[in-house]
C-alpha cells in the first residue's frame, strides 16, 4: 500500500511532507502550554507575581495562535496532497482499465471496476487525509507527551507502564473482533442488497406470479441476518468508550494518589502534578486515536488490495510487433484452424474448434446459426476483443496479434450486439466514428444507415441530446445510429453483430442497399437471425455447435444444406403460399 501511495503522490510530494511538518509544529506548540501553566501555578501564584502571570498568559495565547496557524496550514497541505493523490490514483486506474481486453472486463465485471474506481479510490483518499493527520500528528503527540511526562516526573510516569499495555490489550481485543465482524456485516449487507435488487428488477415477475409473500420472507431473512451481524458488532464496539474512560480516569486517580503523596512530601508541586495529569490524558487519547486509525487503515487496506488487483492485471492483449511493416488495408480475413474458449487453459468447452475460413477483401459475408453457437465469439476474434486459444486469425495476410491494437481496430469496424451510445448529442456520438468527419460525411452516414429521417424528426436534429445513452430512442433507432457511427469510421472490415434485429425488413434492405452502393471495397460481415437479412450475401456461413456446417450462397445452401433448409422453413412457412 505504501508503494502505491508513494507512486501516486507524484506532484504532491512537497505538500505531503510539508503538511505533517506543520502538524508537528502544531503539536509542539500545544505541548508546551501545560508546562507554562505549571509555572504559573507553582511560581507566579505563590509569589503573587501578577506581571509574570500576564506575561506567561500572553505567551500561551501566542502559542495557541501559532499552533492554530500551523494546524490550518497542515490541514490545507494535507488535503491538497491527499486529493491530489486521489486524482492521480483515479486517473492511473482509469487509464489502466482503458487497456483492458474484453476478457479482463468479463473477469472483473463492469460493476466491480466502477466500484474500484469510485469507492475504493475514495476510501484510499480518506485514509490518506486521516492518515496524514492522525498517523503523523498522533504519534508525535504521544511521543512528545511521553517525553515531557518522563521529564516532569519519571517515577510517576511508571503508571503509564501499567496502564498503556492494559489499554492497548483492551482496544486490540475489541477491535480484533470488531474487524472480523465488520466483514460479516459487509457480506450480509451485500446479500440484502442482492435480494432487494432482484426484487426491484423483477417486480413484474413477482407480481405476475403473486410471490409477494415469498419475497417478503426472503427479504426478512436477510434483514434479520443483517441486524444480527450489526448487533454482534455493536454490542462489542460500545464497550470501547466506557473501557477507555475507565482507563483514563483510573490513570488520573493513580497519578493523583502517587503524585499527591509526593506533593505532601514536598518532592513535587501541584502545578506540575496538574500538568502531568493533562499529559497523561494526552498520551492515553493518542493511544486510542492510533488504534482507531489502525481500524481505518485496515479498511483502506482492503480497498488498496482491490485497486492493486486492477493494476496487476496484465492485459493479455498487447500491441504486436509489426507496426511499420503493415500491408495496405484491403479487408481480407482468414481464420486458420482457429479454436477458442473463454477461460483459456481453464475448464469449459471450446466455443469454436478448428475453424478454417477465408473471406476475400470486399466480400459481403453473412454468418447464421442457432443461439450460443459462437457466432459473436468468431467475429470478436477479428479486432482482437479476445485472442484465439489455438490457430490464428489473419487480416490482409498478417496475424492480428502482430498489429498494434489501435491500428487493427481502426481497420476493423464493429457494431456490437448491445448498442451503447453515450451522453451527449447525436452529432457527438456519431463523431466517435471519425472525429474529423465533415457535415456531409455525417449526413451521408446517417442516410446510409437509414437514420437520417428520424434524426431530422427530432426537435434539434443532430444536436439532439441523448440522455443516459439514448433512453429516449427506440431500439431500432439506436441500432441505426450505431451503424452510422461505424460507417463513419470507413473501416476495411465492417462487422455487424446482430445489429439489425430491431430494424424491420424494409429498412434493413435499404441499409443493405446503401452498403452495396457505398461500401463496395469494404468487407462486410454480418451476423443475423433472419433469412431475409442474409439471403443476398455473397456467401453465407452456417455455424453449428462449434464448427462451420456449411458455406455457400442462399441458392446453393437452400439446395443442399439441411440446416439451412430447416432455418428457412422455420421462417418462411406460409409466406409464399
Amino acid at each position: 500500500m505504501l508503494k502505491m501511495i508513494r507512486r501516486h503522490l507524484k506532484g504532491y510530494g512537497g505538500q505531503a511532507v510539508a503538511g505533517p511538518v506543520f502538524m508537528v509544529l502544531e503539536v509542539v506548540c500545544e505541548m508546551i502550554m501545560p508546562l507554562i501553566m505549571a509555572r504559573i501555578v507553582d511560581q507566579a501564584i505563590p509569589q503573587g507575581d501578577t506581571g509574570g502571570i500576564f506575561r506567561m498568559g500572553a505567551a500561551m495565547v501566542a502559542l495557541a495562535l501559532l499552533s492554530m496557524f500551523c494546524g490550518v496550514m497542515g490541514a490545507k497541505l494535507g488535503i491538497n496532497a491527499s486529493q491530489g493523490f486521489g486524482a492521480n490514483l483515479r486517473l492511473a486506474l482509469f487509464e489502466k482499465i482503458q487497456t483492458f481486453s474484453f476478457a479482463d472486463i468479463d473477469r472483473f465485471s463492469s460493476a466491480s471496476l466502477i466500484t474500484r474506481t469510485t469507492n475504493d479510490v475514495n476510501n484510499m483518499t480518506i485514509m490518506l487525509t486521516m492518515g496524514l493527520r492522525i498517523m503523523v500528528r498522533t504519534p508525535m503527540m504521544l511521543l512528545s507527551a511521553l517525553i515531557i511526562a518522563v521529564t516532569i516526573n519519571a517515577r510517576l510516569a511508571l503508571v503509564l507502564v501499567v496502564i498503556i499495555p492494559l489499554m492497548t490489550l483492551a482496544i486490540a481485543g475489541i477491535m480484533g473482533v470488531g474487524i472480523r465482524l465488520f466483514g460479516l456485516v459487509q457480506r450480509r449487507l451485500d446479500a440484502l442488497n442482492e435480494v432487494l435488487q432482484e426484487n426491484l428488477v423483477a417486480i413484474r415477475v413477482v407480481k405476475a406470479f403473486v410471490r409477494r409473500d415469498l419475497e417478503k420472507k426472503k427479504f426478512q431473512r436477510s434483514n434479520d441476518d443483517l441486524t444480527d451481524a450489526f448487533l454482534r458488532v455493536g454490542m462489542r464496539i460500545v464497550a470501547l468508550m466506557p473501557i477507555m474512560t475507565v482507563c483514563m480516569n483510573g490513570a488520573t486517580v493513580a497519578v493523583l494518589y502517587l503524585g499527591g503523596r509526593m506533593v505532601m512530601g514536598g518532592q513535587f508541586d501541584l502545578g506540575s502534578l496538574q500538568a502531568f495529569i493533562s499529559y497523561i490524558a494526552q498520551i492515553l487519547m493518542s493511544v486510542m486515536m492510533v488504534a482507531m486509525s489502525l481500524l481505518q487503515l485496515s479498511r483502506a487496506q482492503a480497498s488498496a488490495r482491490r485497486i492493486q488487483e486492477v493494476f496487476d492485471a496484465t492485459s493479455d492483449i498487447q500491441d504486436g510487433p509489426a507496426g511499420d511493416r503493415l500491408p495496405r488495408p484491403q479487408g481480407r480475413v482468414e481464420f486458420r484452424d482457429v479454436s477458442f474458449r473463454y477461460a483459456a487453459g481453464g475448464e469449459g468447452d471450446d466455443v469454436l474448434s478448428h475453424i478454417d475460413l477465408d473471406i476475400p477483401a470486399g466480400r459481403f459475408v453473412a454468418i447464421i446459426g442457432g443461439t450460443g453457437v459462437g457466432k459473436s465469439s468468431l467475429v470478436n476474434l477479428i479486432p482482437r476483443f479476445y485472442d484465439v486459444t489455438d490457430g490464428a486469425v489473419l487480416l490482409d495476410g498478417v496475424d492480428v496479434r502482430d498489429y498494434p491494437v489501435e491500428e487493427l481496430r481502426r481497420r476493423v469496424g464493429m457494431v456490437l450486439q448491445t448498442n451503447v451510445l453515450f451522453t451527449g448529442t447525436i452529432r457527438e456520438n456519431l463523431l466517435w466514428g471519425d472525429p474529423d468527419a465533415t457535415e456531409e460525411d455525417l449526413v451521408r452516414a446517417a442516410k446510409d444507415a437509414q437514420a437520417y429521417g428520424f434524426i431530422m424528426s427530432t426537435p434539434n436534429g443532430f444536436e439532439t441530446h441523448l440522455d443516459q445513452g439514448g433512453v429516449n430512442l427506440s431500439g431500432g433507432q439506436k441500432q441505426r445510429l450505431c451503424i452510422a457511427r461505424a460507417m463513419l469510421k470507413k473501416p476495411a472490415v465492417l462487422i455487424l453483430d446482430d445489429s439489425t434485429s430491431a430494424v424491420d425488413s424494409a429498412t434493413e434492405a435499404a441499409i443493405r442497399e446503401s452498403f452495396h452502393r457505398n461500401l463496395k471495397d469494404t468487407t462486410v460481415i454480418i451476423i443475423a437471425q433472419r433469412i431475409s437479412s442474409v439471403r443476398y450475401a455473397d456467401e453465407i456461413v452456417i455455424l453449428e455447435d462449434d464448427h462451420v456446417a456449411g458455406r455457400g450462397t442462399h441458392e446453393e445452401l437452400l439446395a443442399s444444406n439441411p440446416i439451412y433448409q430447416e432455418i428457412y422453413q422455420s421462417q418462411q412457412e406460409g409466406v409464399e403460399e
Binding site: 501578577t50 500576564f54 474506481t117 406470479f209 443483517l226
Partner: protein, 615 residues
C-alpha cells in the same frame, strides 16, 4: 434535474415535517417508554458521574494536595470514592449505549421490513416512476443514516446538552468572573464556526456536484468500455475523464480545507481559552484568594466546554439528514398501494377434475361457483399511463376459451399495455374488462394474477438453483413436475448440460446463461404454474427461429386448452393464431385470422410482405 423524491447528494437538506417524522421514527425505536427511561437514567448517571467526579477533585486538591499535609490515608479514601463514582459512570455509559444499539438495530430492522412490505404492495406505475437506484438508496443510504442517528446522534445530542448545562453550571459555581473569559472565547468560537460551517457547506455542495459528474462519467465509460475499445476511443475518453477528475480534485480540496480546519481552529481556540483562563485564574488567585483546587478543576472544565458545542453542530447535521432520509422512507411507505377491492376468489372445485372455479360472493353471503374458462373481453377500454396522453383508445375485443389471440403492431402501439391491463398491472381509465363474465376489478388481485401465466419481454431470474427458478412458478411443484415443465419448454437438454444440471446456481439475474436459455427457463417457469390463461409477451424474441421451431411443440403443449395472448415481433410466430389484432397508435386497426387479414391487403399485409417498418 433532481425531482422532489430524488436521492440526496449532500447531507444538508432539511426534513419538511420535523415533528411528525420524529414521532413516527420514535415509534420505530420503541413502543413502550420504558427502555427510553432506562437510557435517560443511565445517561444522566454517566454525565453526572463524569462532571461530579471531576468536581470532587477540587476538594481533594484543596484538602490533601499541598506541601505539609500528611493525611495519606485521607487522600486514599477520597480517591476510592472518586473511583466508585467514575466506575458507576462507566457502567451507566455502557448500559446506555448497549441499550441504544439494541433499540436502534431492532427499530431499523422493523423499518426496513415495513418499507419492503409496503414496496411489494405498490402498483407498477410507482416502479415506473422511480428508478431502482433511487429505491435502493432508501434501503441503503437513508436507512443507514437513520440507524446512525438513532444509535448515536440522538443520545449524543441529549448528552451534549446535559454536559454543556452541567459544565456551565459548575463553572459558574466555581468562579463566575472566570466564566466571563470563557464565555467570550465561546462566543468567538461559535461565530467562527458559523463562518467556516457556511463556507464548508457551500463548497461541499460543489464537491458533490463535481463527484456526481465524475462518477457518472466513470460509470458510462466503463459500462460502455467495449464500444470505447471498438472505436479506439481510449485517449479521448481519458481526456474527458481527466477534465472531470481535476475539477473534482479542486472542488474536494476546497471543501476538504474548510472541513479540515474546523478541528485545528476549534481545538486551538480551546487552548486559547485555557491560556486566558489560566492567566486570569492566576490573577484572581493572587488577588482574591481563589482556591487552587478550584482553578485546576475549572481549567479542566474550560477545556471540555467546547466539545458539546462541536458535538451538537456535528450531530445536528447527521440527525437532520437522517430525518430527511426517514421522511423519504415514510413517503414510500405512504404511497398509494395497489387498489384491490376484489371479492371473487379462485378455488379448485370438488370432484375428480378439480377444475379451477371463481368463487363469487352473493348478496346473501353464500358463494356461487363459476367455472374458469378463460373468456376475456375488453369493452370500450381507454387507458393512459400519464393523464391526458391516451395510450389505448376504445379497445373492444374478446377471446373465447382456448383461443390464441395475437397482437402485432409497431413499438409503442400498445401491445404490451393491453396484456398489462388484463392482470391489472395498471388500472383502466374507462370501459370494462371481464373475465368469464366477471369484471376483473371484482376479482381479488392475487387470484386474478394466479390464473394468468406470464412470460415477459425481459426475462428475470433469481439467485438460486435452476430448479428453484422453475419452481418459482408454483411453490409446491415437485422436482419431477419442474423437470417435466423444463421438458415441455425444451429447456431440459441445455439444463442437463450445465455443470450441476438442475442444481446449477443462477447468479446475477442469470448472467451465466445466454439470453435464449433464460427465456427457456422463463417459459418452463410459466409451464409449471399451469395457469388457465397464458400471456406471452415477446417470449421467443431472443431465441433463434430454428430453436423456436424446436420448442414450438412445447409451446403448443403449453398453449393447448388455454386462452393465450401472444405478442410477437416475428410474424411467423403469430401466423396460426385464431385472431390477430393489428394495433396502431392505441387503436385496433385490423382484426381477423391470418388468411382473412392477408386477403384484406391492409396494414397486416404490408407488415407481412415487408413494405412497412415495424419499429
Amino acid at each position: 434535474m433532481p425531482g422532489p423524491g430524488r436521492a440526496p447528494r449532500g447531507g444538508y437538506q432539511k426534513p419538511k415535517e420535523l415533528g411528525k417524522t420524529v414521532r413516527r421514527l420514535l415509534g420505530y425505536l420503541t413502543r413502550s417508554p420504558l427502555p427510553l427511561v432506562l437510557v435517560l437514567v443511565c445517561l444522566l448517571t454517566s454525565v453526572a458521574a463524569n462532571l461530579g467526579g471531576s468536581y470532587m477533585l477540587r476538594d481533594i486538591i484543596n484538602r490533601f494536595v499541598w506541601s505539609g499535609c500528611t493525611d495519606v490515608a485521607g487522600l486514599g479514601l477520597a480517591l476510592v470514592g472518586l473511583i466508585v463514582v467514575y466506575a458507576l459512570g462507566a457502567v451507566a455509559a455502557y448500559v446506555q449505549s448497549a441499550a441504544m444499539v439494541r433499540l436502534a438495530q431492532r427499530g431499523v430492522n422493523r423499518l426496513r421490513r415495513d418499507l419492503f412490505d409496503a414496496l411489494q404492495d405498490l402498483p407498477l406505475s410507482f416502479f415506473d416512476q422511480h428508478p431502482h437506484g433511487e429505491l435502493m438508496s432508501r434501503f441503503t443510504n437513508d436507512a443507514d443514516n437513520v440507524q446512525m442517528a438513532l444509535e448515536q446522534s440522538l443520545v449524543s445530542l441529549v448528552s451534549s446538552a446535559l454536559m454543556f448545562v452541567g459544565l456551565v453550571t459548575l463553572m459558574l459555581v466555581i468562579n463566575w468572573r472566570l466564566f466571563l473569559v470563557t464565555l467570550a472565547v465561546l462566543a468567538l468560537t461559535t461565530a467562527l464556526f458559523r463562518l467556516i460551517g457556511g463556507k464548508s457547506r457551500r463548497y461541499y455542495q460543489d464537491q458533490q456536484t463535481a463527484l456526481g459528474s465524475l462518477n457518472g462519467n466513470i460509470q458510462e465509460v466503463i459500462e460502455g468500455l467495449r464500444v470505447v475499445k471498438a472505436f479506439t476511443h481510449e485517449e479521448q475518453a481519458t481526456a474527458d475523464f481527466k477534465v472531470r477528475n481535476d475539477a473534482y480534485r479542486d472542488a474536494a480540496s476546497l471543501a476538504g480545507f474548510f472541513s479540515g480546519i474546523i478541528g485545528p481552529v476549534s481545538h486551538n481556540l480551546m487552548n486559547m481559552s485555557y491560556a486566558l483562563t489560566a492567566c486570569f485564574g492566576g490573577v484572581l488567585s493572587v488577588l482574591q484568594g481563589f482556591d487552587l483546587g478550584g482553578l485546576v478543576v475549572y481549567l479542566n472544565y474550560s477545556k471540555q466546554v467546547g466539545q458539546p458545542i462541536n458535538q451538537v453542530s456535528q450531530q445536528m447535521t447527521a440527525l437532520l439528514s437522517a430525518l430527511a432520509g426517514a421522511e423519504r422512507i415514510f413517503a414510500v411507505m405512504d404511497a398509494q398501494p395497489e387498489v384491490d377491492q376484489g371479492k371473487v376468489t379462485l378455488v379448485r372445485a370438488e370432484g375428480e377434475a378439480r377444475a379451477w372455479c371463481w368463487s363469487v360472493p352473493e348478496a346473501d353471503g353464500s358463494r356461487r361457483l363459476v367455472p374458469l374458462r378463460g373468456d376475456v373481453r375488453f369493452e370500450e377500454v381507454n387507458f393512459s399511463y400519464v393523464p391526458g396522453k391516451r395510450v389505448l383508445k376504445n379497445i373492444s375485443l374478446y377471446a373465447t376459451p382456448g383461443q390464441k389471440i395475437a397482437f402485432v403492431g409497431s413499438t409503442g402501439a400498445g401491445k404490451t399495455t393491453i396484456t398489462n391491463l388484463i392482470n391489472r398491472f395498471y388500472e383502466i381509465e374507462s370501459g370494462r374488462i371481464t373475465y368469464d363474465g366477471i369484471d376483473v376489478r371484482d376479482i381479488a388481485k392475487d387470484d386474478l394474477r394466479a390464473s394468468l401465466g406470464m412470460v415477459l419481454q425481459d426475462t428475470h431470474l433469481f439467485t438460486g438453483t435452476v430448479m428453484e427458478n422453475i419452481r418459482y412458478g408454483r411453490l409446491d411443484a415437485t422436482d419431477q413436475e419442474c423437470i417435466q415443465a423444463a421438458k415441455t419448454a425444451n429447456a431440459h437438454s441445455f439444463i442437463r448440460r450445465l455443470p450441476q444440471g438442475y442444481q446449477t446456481m443462477v447468479t446475477g439475474d442469470g448472467a451465466n446463461l445466454s439470453q435464449g436459455q433464460r427465456q427457456l427457463l422463463a417459459i418452463a417457469r410459466a409451464a409449471v404454474a399451469d395457469p388457465p390463461v397464458m400471456i406471452l409477451d415477446e417470449a421467443t424474441s431472443s431465441i433463434d427461429t430454428r430453436t423456436e421451431k424446436h420448442i414450438e411443440a412445447g409451446m403448443d403443449a403449453l398453449m393447448e386448452n388455454r386462452t393465450v395472448f401472444v405478442i410477437a415481433h416475428r410474424l411467423s410466430t403469430v401466423r396460426n393464431s385464431n385472431c390477430i389484432v393489428v394495433l396502431e397508435h392505441g387503436q385496433v386497426e385490423e382484426k381477423g385470422d391470418h388468411d382473412s387479414l392477408l386477403a384484406q391487403k391492409g396494414r397486416y399485409y404490408q407488415l407481412y410482405t415487408g413494405q412497412f417498418q415495424l419499429d
